[in-house]
Symmetry: C2
Subunit: 217 residues, 2 copies
DNA sequence: ATATTATTTTAGGCTTGTCTAAAATAATAT
DNA sequence: ATATTATTTTAGACAAGCCTAAAATAATAT
């Protein structure tokens, strides 16, 4: 049996280890989990005993194959539920993350299989994030932050960061959705802001925004 | 904030107080919750402090208006989810209860409103149980156990007990579903078993089965 | 009225997941 | 190489929810 807290830690470790390529450190995890380092150390020990992670004292943790499977299963559920909420219940994409955080912990293989089928076996969620298959296989998209593109570059939005409702509302307003073409007109070196065009309309994006828009490489 | 355990206790107290008209006793609750009397006493104190129940030591508990509201909200969610699982995901009626026990604890007003709308504002769940409305108003059906009917009586099945998968499979097989007409042919006094006809077919039902079929009074 | 039995509560303990404060270790700067 | 700083771990505590065993109370039988 795996608890809700354990699932959330494993998911978080997975996401953090995707970002960087090194071990996930205690403080990183504490920040991500909105808790204290001491609590993280406690949980790390439990997860390590259960062989979901490998742990070297003072040097952070890494998911084992077993742990990765759990993490991907939770992510699969999260993204399928988000898709359901948007496609079937007419939620907007900025409202779904919080609810999916709860729904992802429902334990029922059958439910997820049925849901997947009902949704027509979607490949990505409403934010463009790939949905792992039953076996936890995930399509590693070729994606890069919009912030890294040079002026003149033309590319297609692949995904956006999904957990900030404010950002999503803004992106929706300017039409920055997965599938859309975005062109970098100009880039200000000193603050990383840029002018872009979407749907033949021009917008100024701060560095913060352009780092949360992922485009095809 | 109300915890999952608290919600389950309140739901259970509600169901037990519907059955009998007296206060709900510690042992009844322990049995229903699959736990020990001592644990029930502990929880009762918490719920009492939070004013979800009124509690007289040694004489059992009763829901306050506040507690009843919570219980009915959980029951509403449970029954809406069961309806969703059967109507949209093609679950059979004997598979849904367990999953709904989990889904009923998802906290999101918006989700339940949208789900209700998506399902077309159903009035009863797949087992015939009435779905409380947003305000917790529930249609008290005129219903009586099939077991109490006399031979010759003709009546319509209104609901069936929903938490026993085996029973539901059996009822489905013989066609005993809500809305169907059932006629009592004969009743054996000494064991309470009866012969009935459904869809012009005859079946022998044990007392146990006939107590779990509810018909219009 | 009193004794026996059944029910409920209390006492004390365990696990999970959290916390703060203190100690240990690693990283960095001189 | 050593001192300072930052990070991580340990120690000890707490709330929620559960448990067993013992004590208290209520119900019932004589
Ligand atoms: Mn999300
Ligand atoms: Mn998403
Ligand atoms: Mn049910
Ligand atoms: Mn039901």
């Amino acid at each position: 049996m795996i608890s809700l807290a354990e699932e959330n830690y494993l998911k978080s470790i997975y996401h953090l280890s995707q970002a960087g390529s090194k071990s996930v450190l205690t403080n990183e995890l504490a920040e991500a989990m909105n808790t204290k380092a001491a609590s993280v150390t406690d949980m790390i020990k439990k997860l390590s005993t259960k062989e979901f992670i490998s742990y070297e004292k003072y040097y952070g943790v890494n998911l084992t194959a077993k742990g990765k499977t759990v993490a991907l299963s939770v992510i699969r559920k999260h993204r399928l539920w988000e898709t359901f909420l948007v496609e079937k219940l007419a939620f907007s994409w900025d409202e779904v993350h919080e609810v999916a955080e709860q729904l992802e912990h429902i334990q029922s293989k059958r439910l997820i299989e049925k849901l997947d089928e009902y949704l027509g076996f979607p490949k990505v969620d409403p934010h463009g994030d790939p949905i792992p298959d039953t076996k936890g296989k995930i399509k590693a998209l070729q994606q890069v932050m919009l912030a890294t593109l040079k002026p003149g570059a033309d590319s297609i939005i692949v995904a956006v960061k999904d957990s900030d409702s404010q950002l999503l509302k803004y992106l929706d307003k300017i039409g920055a959705r997965p599938g859309k073409t975005i062109k970098v007109i100009e880039r200000e070196e000193y603050d990383g802001s840029m002018e872009v065009s979407i749907n033949n309309q021009r917008f100024f994006l701060s560095k913060e925004v352009s780092e949360n828009i992922l485009v095809n490489a």
